[in-house]
Amino acid sequence: MLQKIYDWVDERLDITPIWRDIADHEVPEHVNPAHHFSAFVYCFGGLTFFVTVIQVLSGMFLTMYYVPDIENAWNSVQYLQSQVAHGQIVRGMHHWGASVVIVMIFLHTLRVFFQGAYKKPRELNWVVGVLLFFVMFGLGFTGYLLPWDNKAFFATQVGLEIAESVPVIGTDIKTLLAGDPDIVGAQTLTRFFAIHVFFLPAALFGLMALHFIMIRRQGISGPL
């Protein structure tokens, strides 16, 4: 049955080359942990992607309950955490995943760095990777505020003051991020929410596409 559906579509749209391009490629021996156990270091990039998928999915479901408003944000989180079926699990995935994804992306960066895999011709992919790292940090920073508890509030206060310490334009950066020169409040929360769920994910998807296209184009770097 499934085969018939596939054939029907393939006959019209010729989709086989598309998924072959995406999914059908050999894993070289030197990056396959089944051959050399030490090759597990090559998994960190894929694990970063895997956790990112978890983050995107769990985040989508969290927004079914979350309200980015200073009077309701904490209550909505409290509600989804304590009253909603599996809410605690989904928020837990998003909460812990946020840390795991940073750890994974860091290990991935270390592997690429110490293997010298960033060298010609892969310099551009290193640059895109560093941008991805920054986007991840941005997601962590903006997401941290959203539960709107004391920890979130004061962490953001500190983060904004760090931004403010930038020479010359620091104050403007802080105002742009917080939505107000003095207050960390209603407009800060809506801004961080918008940045967290729309702006940065858009940047993340674009950069990830570039990252993966470049990997496919250049292949994995050779054995040490």
Binding site: Q157, V158, E161, T175, G179, D180, I183, A186, Q187
Partner: protein, 169 residues
């Protein structure tokens, strides 16, 4: 006429220019209002310059007194009252000084004469110290003096406004 053709804009160039121009204009017209929305906080005037009554002038002594007061704060679509604290006293010259207790190092709250820090403002977070004028003591973490509130006096009543940075050590 025909030998001049080289200097003329070709049909292809003309179309390229006009399409790029029109496309650029349409793109800019689309993005400009969105960017305006995003940078709105930078365009807004700085917060209110309201002054709030804090205490009577004849209650002010040489010893710093801790006073709390409330300012009307407009946080987007929320009108709220925000608590402010000031250390109020007269300095050696008899001038009124109303200092913000926010440490200029990393934003903790300083206290007057705690523990064995006599005649000083002290911040417990990283042992920041300020002298009796609220000026940071060199060699301690703060990089500037405690901010001072703008003040007004009407009918012997002290009103405080914004806290501003001061020049100092």
């Amino acid at each position: 006429m025909s030998e001049k053709k080289n200097n003329q804009v070709s049909r292809r160039q003309f179309l390229n220019y006009t399409l790029t121009g029109v496309g650029g204009f349409m793109g800019a017209a689309m993005v400009a209002p969105m960017v305006g929305m995003a940078v709105d906080p930078l365009l807004k005037a700085d917060g209110s310059d309201d002054f709030q009554y804090v205490m009577d002038v004849d209650e002010i002594t040489d010893e710093p007194q801790r006073k709390t007061f409330y300012i009307d704060q407009q946080d987007g679509w929320y009108d709220t009252e925000a608590e402010r604290t000031a250390w109020i006293y007269r300095d050696e010259n008899g001038d009124i000084l109303a200092l913000s207790p926010i440490c200029t190092h990393l934003g903790c709250v300083v206290d007057w004469e705690t523990g064995d820090h006599g005649n000083e403002f002290f911040c417990p977070c990283h042992y920041g110290r300020y002298d009796q004028n609220g000026v940071n003591i060199p060699g301690t973490p703060p990089e500037g003096p405690l901010h001072a509130y703008e003040y007004q006096i009407e009918d012997g009543r002290l009103y405080l406004g914004r806290a501003n940075p001061r020049e100092g050590a």
